[in-house]
């Protein structure tokens, strides 16, 4: 129980949060001995605001019904800069949903305060449609960050394309200061990107649009050409082109910090992946020497042909399906900037040679993960010896390791630990 504290500085945030939790019920106010009732109600707005910032929305809403002053604070624009709309149907999700009344209130009173907005929807189309409806009403706003996130199946893809596009363009047109946009797995198209560019080319810094099937390479090229502040870009491989890389490397363009490329197989045999010229990659690296390039592969074995034939400046590589021994050999030869390599599956031939070559030639490698593969214990030791302490992440499934004449599984753990300078074990899976 508080004892007549009247100085703001003596409050500590966590202490306060606990106490505030208890104090929002009327009973506290009634049982106080000193005239604290008056004091609480008369706290300066900025103090209450500061405290409110540590409360969850639910607690804050409860606090707002204590008195008019606190209610005023509840509606101070500062508290409405960030909001995450959660739109879930009970039939399709375990998560709760933002209350429709609250949504209405926000649209009515706080739309113009919103700056960092995200929408989390479940797999139900209705949820995605509800998100679009809200978007269409955000007319008077200066949104800086927008995120459309599907927590389960990508329900935005089921919304009619025109409905989606018109909702999205409301924000594109009205905000005029968008800097970060995440619209993966949505039916965004080339015309909407044009609208984005026409209104936000000076401010756009981040654009994530993996798996947006209605966008063409020309559409994304338009963004790269006009938005010279673009620092982070995520897209699917089919949108990547030599022209795009060159546009991102033009003189007017800032340094690119992060490029994520998802390479996803359609049904096998139907997609021929184009190759990117080495000169385009070189231009990108010359322009942005620190750029991180993440490539996530979800391909069948035979679809890898066009990749890594020449030097490729990728830094983070993930193979979500099987990748051949040959490919891993190529990576050792042609990926000198590699920082992290994660392999889901390879097969039944030991990858010793390939790993050792990667250790030798990828001097920046600090993380490696191997799933369904095979490596002899000696091979792993050799790899670890070459990499030494720079390996901060070494995630090897236990089944990967093949004991040989020099090392068995027990020994490998202590040997590797010694070389890494920390305790290390392979990853395990239950064998019941």
């Amino acid at each position: 129980m508080k004892r007549g504290r009247s100085k703001c500085e003596s409050f500590t945030p966590s202490e306060d949060r606990n106490k505030r939790h208890r104090s929002v019920t009327p009973t506290f106010v009634q049982t106080s001995q000193t005239p604290t009732e008056e004091m609480w109600g008369n706290l300066p707005h900025h103090v209450v605001l500061h405290i409110f910032q540590y409360l969850s929305l639910v607690d804050r809403a409860r606090a707002s019904s204590v008195c008019r002053r606190w209610n005023d604070v509840f509606h101070i624009p500062d508290l409405w800069r960030r909001f995450e709309f959660e739109l879930n149907q009970p039939a399709t999700s375990y998560l709760r949903s933002t209350h429709p009344d609250l949504i209405q209130q926000i649209i009515k009173r706080h739309a113009q305060h919103l700056q960092y907005v995200s929408f989390k929807v479940d797999s139900c189309t209705e949820s995605a449609e509800a998100a679009c409806d809200i978007l269409s009403q955000l007319v008077n706003c200066t949104i800086k960050t927008l995120g459309l996130i599907s927590t389960a199946r990508p329900s935005f893809m089921n919304v009619s394309q025109s409905h989606f596009v018109s909702a999205l363009t409301v924000v594109f047109v009205n905000s005029k200061s968008l800097s970060s946009i995440k619209i993966d797995d949505t039916p965004v198209d080339d015309p909407s990107l044009k609208v984005l560019v026409a209104n936000n080319s000076d401010t756009l810094k981040l654009l994530k649009m993996s798996s947006c099937p209605h966008v063409s390479p020309a559409g994304i090229l338009c963004v790269a050409d006009q938005c010279h502040g673009l620092r982070e870009l995520a897209l699917n491989y089919h949108l990547l082109s030599d022209e795009l890389l060159l546009a991102l490397s033009s003189e007017k363009h800032v340094h690119l910090e992060h490029l994520r490329i998802d390479v996803v197989s359609e049904n096998p045999g139907q997609t021929q992946f184009h190759s990117i010229k080495k000169s385009s990659w070189d231009a990108l690296i010359r322009h942005s020497p620190q750029v991180n390039i993440v490539m996530n592969f979800f391909l069948n074995e035979e679809e890898f042909e066009p990749f890594f034939r020449e030097e490729t400046p990728v830094t983070h590589l993930y193979f979500g399906r099987v990748v051949s021994k040959d490919m891993l050999g190529r990576i050792g030869l042609n990926c000198p900037r590699l920082v992290e390599l994660v392999v889901c599956a390879n097969g039944l031939e030991p990858l010793d040679e390939e790993l050792i070559r990667i250790a030798e030639r990828c001097g920046s490698l600090t993380a490696i993960g191997l799933g369904e593969c095979e490596v002899t214990c000696s091979g792993l030791m050799e790899f670890v010896k070459i990499c030494g302490g720079r390996l901060s992440q070494l995630s090897i499934m236990e089944e990967v390791l093949i004991p040989d004449n020099t090392y068995n599984i027990e020994q490998i753990h202590s040997e590797v630990s010694k070389h890494l300078g920390r305790i290390w074990f392979p990853d395990m899976m239950p064998t019941w």
């Binding site: 993996s210 996803v264 993440v294 993960g369 300078g421 899976m429 064998t431």
Partner: protein, 590 residues
Amino acid sequence: MGVNSVHWFRKGLRLHDNPALQEALNGADTVRCVYILDPWFAGSANVGINRWRFLLESLEDLDTSLRKLNSRLFVVRGQPTDVFPRVFKEWNVTRLTFEYDSEPYGKERDAAIIKMAHEYGVETVVRNTHTLYSPDRIIEMNNHSPPLTFKRFQAIVNRLELPRKPLPTITQEQMAKCRTQISDNHDERYGVPSLEELGFKTQGDSLHVWKGGETEALERLNKHLDRKAWVANFERPRITAQSLFASPAGLSPYLRFGCLSCRVFYYNLRELYIKLRRRSSPPLSLFGQLLWREFFYTAATNNPNFDRMEGNPICVQIPWDHNPEALAKWAEGRTGFPWIDAIMTQLRQEGWIHHLARHAVACFLTRGDLWISWESGMKVFEELLLDADWSVNAGSWMWLSCSAFFQQFFHCYCPVGFGRRTDPSGDYIRRYIPKLKDYPNRYIYEPWNAPESVQKAANCIVGVDYPKPMINHAESSRLNIERMKQVYQQLSHYRGLSLLASVPTIQEEAEPPMSDDSQASSSTAGQACTPTPAPSTPPSSEPSSPTAAAPGTHTQRKRGRPSELTSKQKSKVQHTNQAKGVEQKIDDKQ
């Protein structure tokens, strides 16, 4: 006033290594062995026909064995809280014995029964024999919380004494001293029911693979040990196509029901290893299967919410999808992926699948493809899988869905590729999905890619005779890996690009090594963090439901350890090579 004992069988369906039963016999005038069966559950409970059959066969086996000792098994219909008052009075019971059940529900039920027994003046004797070690002891030795990594668990086990040696089986002499009054209508009143009596329709022709009972369990143990090559070379048996099929030496269902004592298994393995390898002690990995079981029992014993996501302190809160139609396809083996469908078919028909098969279907249902909650998968396994008990099943599902125990989530089992690599011959598919038997090996794992001519020749058209694949695996895995990464990044507060570094590492102090080989606890360094609540910055969004659990509670408790450990660590740590490096890491964590 004599001693009238009742031994209550629940698990532990055996006469060998049964200290609780021995206590029932000890100085008793009469003894009755009881199994309480609630038949009304047969319809509603989540227990399929194979599990019922296995249980009934185990009970029959007990009855047969008891008959040889001039006794019988008493199967009493009803619920324990109703049954016991009745039999206490009817049989003048003075002593009740049973095997300890470490599961939260079991502990609650038993506490009520013990209380009731005392009210009736009945002495209760409980013995812990379902697990090798006492879960409470392990928890105590781990600073009062269950180990959350397997390596940590092994480190603690390494410091324990060997499990108590198993007792021999009940003898004629022991039984001769106690009578069992068998009435003429025993079979009617207390006989083991049949499947039909419980409401199941049996075709009679189902050649079931796993026969329940202690007798069968002990025979299988011998077969298991006969495979000396495995033990002698001490190689973890690499999976072959043959491993996918039920083995006549498989033991997991017998361990679950307690038809086989885990200690008997343990000591047999141990002695065989010592004999063959002429070494003093086997490494812990020899007992892999048994230790995983112990691990999950220990993790679950104090956590009544262990089998669900919400309210479970160790479970990551992941926004799984709710999709009953997709779940049904998976459960019934109609996904359109022959590898998955064959596994689920074997599961349904026989009640057992190889652990790698479990990984494959669990990954497919949860973080790999369908993004459906592991709880749903757990319930299907509970119904169909013979060796699935509460702790092990829930724990394994959390592990396989990367919902707990800090797993790396990058390794995804491809529903086509993994199957093909495990069994290139395709025989497993042909056995359990006969419709596909005429498909050539090239297409049997992905029949939808076979040209029409091949499909026609195989007399099985995809989309007509066999379902089309229910999802696009490449697209689903892309989406799901990204989601898992986001979930974990919220937990670990990691904002970088590394997939591997997204998973928070659990900060468990290094155990002082007992010997050069001994496993210390896992603590992969560098990256890690516990999600400490940081009120110094205002919350950045307004989630109406938490999206990350707080596994940090465990580690925070650990951080509070007194400095005595530090000095212990420092002195022991000098044995290892790069002591300075290791010490530094430990200091960072304190």
